[in-house]
């Protein structure tokens, strides 16, 4: 299985990559290549030129400052899933990265490639939605910062322009409250991709849920927030809230005709999975919180 012919250019810097992209509508970025190469082998993608950004050092790594964590686009899942600080502060992202494919895929695939690709069955869209990311993009006119809520548009469709490069993602750090989170998925038995995956990020203060972001992939044509679930959580005390009841409305706002419905799982089955996995993700997030509290 060979991809058909194409040109290949290795970009030395982001500006160099932008230059190679501009004026060439047939050009495509390659990062880890773990979605693009399979698609080129099967003829689903036929770029005229690949612009390899894989060796641009400035796009790799995790940086912390007072109020944000920045993750470079080329950071691999393995790097994210191995980072203890991320497991502490942004467990939803670490866990989603850990759930991707297998170790070989995690060594090669990148967070930027995953988010840019907009595959409805990927694991990262729900996690970055739940973690309230800002998507940082460079284009011919300079930098754009896109709120993740506006980023995913449809199947393989995102806010990213053809001549733009996703350079990184930024996540807010919470000030007073304790953040917890989780990502759980029902993998397809054959491909391992998510039939349904649910990401949860909660801020808890004194036993009360201050804020909640809950999102899912696999269920719709793109990653989506589950607002009825979020509404059922905010303001509740952890002692009283029933996650089963809250999760029961997980599919309430979702447009049925846009639900994923294929040979692997019907829309009806996915909607059922969504409720079960939402409850599980909420339970996991709270268990994680209990585990991290100092025992008296």
């Amino acid at each position: 299985m060979y991809p058909s012919e194409f040109d290949y250019e290795r970009a030395e810097t982001v500006d160099h990559a932008l230059e190679l992209l501009s004026g060439d509508p047939e050009a495509k970025i390659i990062s880890g290549g773990h979605s693009l190469i399979p698609m080129m082998k099967s003829g689903l993608a036929n770029p005229g030129t690949l612009v390899d950004i894989g060796e641009i050092d400035e796009l790799t790594g995790i940086e912390w400052d007072d109020d944000t964590v920045s993750v470079g686009a080329l950071t691999t899942y393995a790097t994210i899933a191995d980072d203890d600080e991320l497991w502490d502060e942004l467990p939803v992202l670490a866990e989603a990265a850990h759930e991707v494919g297998d170790i070989q895929v995690r060594n090669r695939g990148t967070i930027g490639g995953n988010v840019a690709h907009g595959d409805p069955a990927s694991d990262l869209p729900a996690a970055v939605l739940a973690a309230d990311a800002t998507v940082v993009v460079q284009g011919p006119d300079g930098e754009r910062r896109i709120d993740v809520d506006d980023f995913f548009l449809g199947m393989y469709a995102t806010e990213l322009g053809e001549d733009e490069i996703l350079t990184g993602l930024e996540f807010p750090r919470s000030e007073n409250a304790t953040t917890t989170g989780a990502y759980v998925k029902k993998p397809s038995p054959s491909s391992g991709y998510a039939l349904v995956g649910v990401a949860v990020s909660l801020e808890v203060d004194d036993g009360r849920i201050e804020s909640a972001r809950v999102a899912a992939n696999g269920i719709m044509d793109h990653g989506v927030r589950l607002e009825p679930v979020e509404d059922g959580l905010v303001g509740e005390s952890l002692d009283d809230v029933s996650f089963e009841d809250v999760a029961a409305v997980a599919d309430e706002d979702l447009e049925e005709f846009m639900m994923m419905d294929d040979i692997q799982a019907s829309a009806e089955f996915r909607a059922q999975l969504l409720k079960v996995y939402t409850e599980e993700a909420l339970n996991d997030a709270v268990d994680r919180l209990d585990a991290s509290l100092p025992t008296a």
């Binding site: 299985m1 060979y2 991809p3 058909s4 012919e5 194409f6 040109d7 290949y8 250019e9 290795r10 390659i30 290549g33 773990h34 190469i37 399979p38 082998k41 099967s42 690949l50 390899d52 894989g54 060796e55 393995a78 494919g101 297998d102 170790i103 070989q104 895929v105 060594n107 090669r108 391992g192």
Partner: protein
């Protein structure tokens, strides 16, 4: 440009070669350089028979372009063969019957060696999770897990003995 002059180091030997843009790393290694360690099972990132280490990390070489690997350091299972005696991982796969036809074995060994580098004492669940991307049509995995457990133990013992020196 569809042809590229690239440089890669394989098992410690430097190579210069010319590849097409679309040449997969596994084919460059096998057909152009003669490193037949990595096997081609599915050619579609599913089976792991083509697993090598690229700059120290286990990857499926059917899902990397040779030109992407320009300037990289590659290790294949062949690196384990160029020794006077069997490596503990090889020895354990043999002793525990961790292979039958052997087609998946090069990939199993490369993934195992990365696992044991990161985690010298994995439990069964961790071993199964690490080998998720490596399929075997013969053994039923049971003996592969035993082989990895036994290799881990041998390597820990050697490491402690060396530490004592």
């Amino acid at each position: 440009m569809t042809e590229h002059d690239i440089e890669i180091t394989v098992n410690g030997t430097d190579h210069e070669m010319t590849v097409d843009s679309r040449t997969l790393l596994v084919h460059a290694l096998r057909d152009q350089l003669g490193y037949t360690g990595p096997n081609v099972g599915c050619e579609s990132s599913m089976c792991g028979a083509c697993t090598i280490h690229l700059d120290g990390e286990a990857v499926k070489s059917c899902t990397v372009l040779a030109v992407q690997a320009d300037g990289s350091d590659v290790t294949t299972v062949g690196d384990f063969a160029d020794r006077d005696s069997l490596h503990p991982i090889q020895e354990s796969f043999s002793e525990e019957h961790g292979l039958q036809c052997g087609y998946c074995t090069p990939g199993m060994i490369m993934t195992t060696s990365e696992l044991l580098e990161r985690n010298p004492d994995p439990n069964e669940e961790e071993i199964r999770e690490a080998l998720e991307g490596n399929l075997c049509r013969c053994t039923g995995y049971q003996n592969i897990v035993k082989a990895v457990e036994s290799a881990a133990e041998k390597m820990r013992t050697t490491a402690t003995a060396e530490g004592d020196d």
